[in-house]
């Protein structure tokens, strides 16, 4: 998740383009990279959990944290469709709601069936954890199916047309959630009354475990051959097709993966809030998620995560000035768009391994500057060594 995924100034894949000194550079083995990152994630999770158990984080704060995690997943998943595929879907809340209802209903029904009570879900008995994980996957799959149904017709369009059609589909989903009970003749979503009695299965550990897993999966996907195909489509669809990339397939795949993770986030959201109403998943929710991606920098996973964090905490922190908080929110957005239209981080992505490698090679920015100055003096010219 922390690897550089794409960059305007630096290449994405290093094969064949490692620069002249490729042979001498020390590199971290892949296993070590994964190990370092995995340990770090575990440390953060354990510290967070200990702080909650010890009371350093209040219940209110941990609920906000869980929501932060949910929004990180939403932003990072939307980033697949906007940042990597280069499309502009406006219906992410629709997929989120499908996942939320799918997961909540699955967990409630299975809980009844297997005799797992509300309290078991909050304390987290092994069976309940299993049900919740199955529920999250189920919610994700429901959203992915919705993604296929919407993606196949929608992805024939581009730009604003795609935005409008996805927006319309998300509204259709919302209306379906509202009225499905009376059409089917039995209780499923409970319509406008709202689905209540959802066990509070979302915990700090579960949410942030999912965040880490989702980031890892997206990262590996984008590093693979499939990811490269998706990036190629963003850069130039016709050239991608002419190079042998099945563009229809990969566009749909990116869209569906994006929907799947949005569904998982929806499932976590349901367990966090405890009540679901179709009205939660309106147009504004989609916009909110899109704003997070655009603000953080399209194509930057760290950017999406950071801005999701800030934009979730900001309204909570400004609750005391509730009359003004929407103004502050809007002003922040306007300022960022004026002074940094590419988003806070542009397409930069943080990579711990890259930093460690740099230290291993003693390749510090200040040293590099001196080196290139020496090179220029020697009349070699600055060759395009991408690995600054």
């Amino acid at each position: 998740m922390e690897e550089e995924l794409m960059n305007k100034k630096r290449p994405i894949i290093s094969t064949g383009g490692r620069g002249p000194a490729a042979g001498e550079k020390k590199r971290l083995p892949m296993a070590a990279r994964y190990a370092i990152n995995a340990v770090l994630v575990l440390v953060v999770l354990v510290i967070g959990e200990l702080m909650i158990d010890g009371g350093a984080i209040t219940r209110y704060q941990s609920t906000v944290l869980e929501q932060v995690g949910v929004y990180i997943i939403l932003a990072v998943s939307l980033n697949i469709a906007t940042g990597y595929l280069g499309q502009l879907p406006l219906g992410h809340a629709g997929f989120m709601s499908v996942g939320a209802y799918g997961c909540a209903i699955f967990v409630m029904r299975m809980g009844d069936l297997l005799g797992v009570g509300m309290r078991d879900f909050t304390t987290g008995t092994p069976l309940s954890i299993l049900i919740v994980i199955a529920g999250l996957v189920f919610g994700g799959l429901c959203a992915a199916i919705a993604g296929v149904i919407i993606g196949i017709p929608a992805l024939r369009l581009k730009g604003d047309y795609l935005a409008i059609i996805t927006l319309a589909f998300a509204e259709i989903i919302r209306v379906v959630m509202l009225n499905i009970d009376s059409v089917l003749g039995f209780t499923l979503t409970r319509g406008a009354k709202g689905l209540t009695g959802i066990p509070g299965y979302s915990s700090f550990l579960l949410v942030f475990g999912c965040v880490a897993l989702v980031c890892f999966l997206i990262h590996t996907m984008m590093k693979s051959r499939h990811g490269r195909a998706i990036l190629a489509i963003r850069d130039n669809e016709i050239a991608a097709e002419a190079s042998g990339v099945n563009t229809t397939y990969y566009k749909t795949l990116a869209f569906v993966v994006s929907a799947f993770f949005a569904g998982v986030a929806g499932g976590l959201y349901a367990g966090c809030i405890g009540v679901l109403q179709p009205a939660y998943f309106g147009f504004m929710k989609s916009i909110e998620i899109l704003v997070m991606v655009v603000l953080g920098g399209m194509g930057s996973m760290l950017g999406s995560a950071l801005s999701a964090t800030v934009l979730t905490i900001l309204p909570e922190a400004l609750r005391a000035f509730s009359e003004y908080r929407m103004i502050v929110y809007a002003v922040v957005l306007i300022l960022v768009m004026i002074f940094r239209p590419q988003g806070l981080l542009g397409s930069y992505d943080f990579s711990l391994s890259r930093i460690i490698e740099r230290v291993m090679n003693r390749d510090f920015p200040w040293k590099k500057k001196a080196e290139s100055a020496a090179k220029e003096a020697a009349g070699e010219g600055v060759s395009a060594d991408a690995e600054r």
Binding site: P11, G16, A386
Partner: protein, 235 residues
């Protein structure tokens, strides 16, 4: 037997007929060029052969098998590569990554080998292999687009207006490379508005006018043909 044979091809965009019954052949090892004015149907023909557009009627046979209705990404696997008009490179990827994308249908081992070959044809690309493609000059981008098409190891390379928007000296360089590629064994179908240059390197040529073939002959014949001179070569 011809490597590519197109028979009575008709292509329309909605109500507009762009290509009205074109037939031509390309033999293995030839450079064949389609020349003609804007809107003659040259690029449409090329895109149809490459599978980007579906024809209304007619047949396209490559190496004895029909490729009509085969999507573009599968056409690449059959051994035809299109270098699209207007230097469509992957702007945010490096030169090396662009080339790797070109070898998308091939294995890594094959790509390693082809990459060296492409670099030998385009030494400039090797120098700039870590540079981001969007920052290359027009000529370099054209070379990159051609190199990328070559990465799929095509038997037939289709070039759509490689000289477009390039300085005359670069046009010369590009055509020199096209000739080299042909000598190295790649059959080439070239679509050009720069008729003079195209005819001078082509074995055979077809002159297109409003979607039909007006004239055909060897490159040298057409270069001195009165009608062609008047219409396309400036007298």
């Amino acid at each position: 037997m011809a490597l590519l044979s197109v028979r009575d091809l008709h292509v329309s965009y909605g109500a507009i007929k762009a290509v009205r019954g074109i037939s031509f052949d390309i033999n293995e090892g030839e450079i064949v060029t389609l020349i003609g004015a804007n809107g003659a149907g040259k690029s449409t023909t090329l895109n149809t052969v490459a599978g980007l557009i579906k024809p209304e009627s007619g047949t396209v046979e490559f190496d004895g098998a029909s490729v009509v209705g085969v999507p573009a990404h599968k056409v690449v696997q059959r051994g035809m590569a299109l270098c699209p008009e207007g230097r469509r490179v992957f702007t945010q990827m490096s030169v090396a990554e662009n080339l790797e994308m070109g070898g998308y249908t091939r294995s890594d081992a094959e790509n390693k080998e082809t990459l060296e070959k492409v670099y030998s044809h385009f030494p400039r690309l090797k120098e700039r292999r870590t540079q981001v493609a969007g920052t290359l000059s027009g000529g370099e981008q054209q070379m990159l687009a051609m190199g990328r098409a070559l990465m799929s190891r095509p038997r037939l390379l289709m070039l759509d207006e490689p000289s477009m928007g390039l300085a005359p000296i670069l046009v010369q360089e590009i055509f020199e490379i096209v000739k080299q590629l042909n000598e190295a064994g790649t059959t080439i179908l070239l679509v050009e508005q720069n008729a003079n240059m195209a005819l001078s390197i082509a074995d055979r040529a077809y002159v297109l006018e409003i979607g039909t073939i007006k004239k055909t002959g060897t490159g040298a014949e057409l270069l001195v043909d009165d009608d062609v001179r008047k219409a396309y070569l400036g007298g």
